[in-house]
């Protein structure tokens, strides 16, 4: 069963901006799916249409087989949404916000209260349940929106940048929470600018750019496309010049920091062996950038470059 099926989704805003140019996408039931793209690529428009905040111009959207044009109310019962921006009444109490949201879903107080209590405990908000939402920290506000989205136990959870502005410790605890609910059967669609987050959580991925899907595959397959990785080596031995390591591209950042590009078929051991031959000792090693980030940048840059090329051709023709 497909948790979400999008076919040829198009959206043109009233100002003429074509935000989606025929997006097609399937998300399987139980998946943890990443929808990535640069700012303004069409992620939020796509998700906005799925949860009815934006009207589509054309195309078809089904949630667990329910066509939103046929029975949007039924489809909405299956979705929980955590939007990018805070969207609750800031003067309302935390518990009231969750219970009110449950009420909109048709849950009576008797049904909603135990669920709300459980979520407040799970997300570390229990002690704040009587506080007004405006009194919460940024991280707590994010967790409040997650609790609110889950109170009616949706089968599909849409997380639009759920950890934006959240410190790393809290972010990791939120990841673990999201993994838990995914393991319990909730399908999750995640958009995020933290690519490390998408890489460690998601099994499948789509990358959208300028209103079009430019990549839709499994995370494993996508990462397999990475042809090289750049590592940063902290050296014990200070260097005056960039060392020559046959077969590797190197760049000396400062006396004790060296960047080495290692291709898919090469190994880190080879680098260490070559460095040892020159009596250069290494203190530590780390990735320059997250692997998904490198791919993401190269994919998005590629479309930007082809657009630039096309633009130049048009200019030439018109001249």
């Amino acid at each position: 069963m497909k948790a979400l099926s999008i076919q040829n989704l198009q959206k043109t805003y009233s100002n003429g901006f074509e935000a989606l140019k025929g997006v097609s996408l399937d998300v399987a039931e139980g998946d943890f799916f990443a929808l990535l793209g640069p700012n303004g690529a069409g992620k939020s428009t796509t998700l906005g249409i799925v949860c009815s905040l934006i009207r589509k111009t054309n195309g078809k959207v089904s949630i667990f087989g329910v066509d939103i044009d046929q029975d949007f109310a039924k489809a909405k019962q299956l979705i929980g949404v955590v939007p990018q921006e805070f969207n609750f009444g800031v003067f309302e109490k935390i518990e009231d916000i969750i219970l009110t949201s449950a009420g909109y879903q048709g849950l009576t107080l008797k049904q909603a209260r135990p669920r709300a209590e459980q979520l407040l405990h799970d997300l570390g908000l229990w002690d704040k349940r009587h506080a007004q939402a405006r009194m919460l920290s940024g991280g707590m506000k994010r967790r409040l929106m997650i609790a609110r989205a889950l109170v009616h136990q949706p089968k599909l959870l849409i997380l639009d940048e759920p950890t934006a502005g959240v410190d790393i410790e809290l972010r990791r605890s939120m990841w673990s929470f999201m993994q838990d609910i995914n393991r319990q059967g909730t399908t999750i669609i995640l958009t995020t600018h933290y690519l490390e987050e998408a890489e460690s959580l998601c099994r499948n991925i789509a990358i959208i750019d300028k209103g079009e899907i430019i990549k839709n595959t499994s995370m494993k397959a996508l990462l397999g496309e990475l042809t090289s990785e750049t590592f940063v080596l902290d050296l014990i031995t200070p260097l005056q010049e960039n060392p020559v390591l046959t077969g590797f591209t190197t760049r000396l950042i400062d006396a004790t920091t060296l960047e080495v590009e290692i291709k898919k078929e090469q190994s880190v051991s080879q680098v260490f062996a070559l460095l040892l031959q020159q009596s250069i000792e290494v203190l530590s090693l780390r990735n320059k950038a997250n692997r998904l980030e490198e791919l993401f940048v190269s994919l998005v840059d590629k479309t930007a470059a082809s657009d630039f090329k096309a633009e130049k051709t048009i200019n030439k023709v018109s001249v």
Binding site: Y13, L53, N87, T100, G103
Partner: protein
Amino acid sequence: MNSIRIYWVAFTTILIKEIRRFTRIWAQTLLPPAITMALYFVIFGNLIGSRIGEMGGFNYMQFIMPGLIMMSVITNSYSNVTSSFFSSKFQKSIEEMLVAPVPSWVILSGYILGGVTRGLLVGLIVTVLALFFTELTVHNLFITITVVFLTAVLFATGGFINALFARSFDDVTIIPTFVLTPLTYLGGVFYSIHLLPEFWQKASLFNPVLYMVNTFRYGILGVSDINPWAALAAICVFIVLLFGLALWLLEKGKGLRQ
């Protein structure tokens, strides 16, 4: 059947949220009309009213009491919906409702009844205050209750439409300040239109508030400048028209969905 149960729960949720909102900020919503109306009763009813003498066969305090109650009902039912719904738009908390399986008519009905509840509660507070200054007699209970309820529904619906169109907090106050207040003050709250020159008497007949105030006054005192039954019918027609318009705008997503 299941849908009806869901809609009922959603409707009561909106209503309870609305009541919680205006009672939480009672110093802004319930107290000011009580103070303002108490001042009207003291100044116009007692101090100046004692020198005016009778109007429509009743002393001035008795005459203005129904108008002042109706004025507070109109203002509060309207402003409750405009400020609450616009705040929801402004804070984006309206999205909670839009992503939930709540039909537009349930959203609209919930907000309207929230506005009606505040309007009637303020009306009740003003009535209790009025009892310190004059006696309350009810000539026709059915008309009294019906007209005050329908008027609150009508203005709450109007407030909803105002909030749908509003893009800033200024837009929320324009209609109450420049349309509602003049219509209410010129709607026979403080005088009988028979005191006016003929031209202004006829001009007053175009003021919808005149019909509501006079119908309510008829219900309480048994005197009116207009036919109360015709007025009730007209209010019902306007409710149907405004409710239809508000529902259409909401379905269209006016000011809510792109």
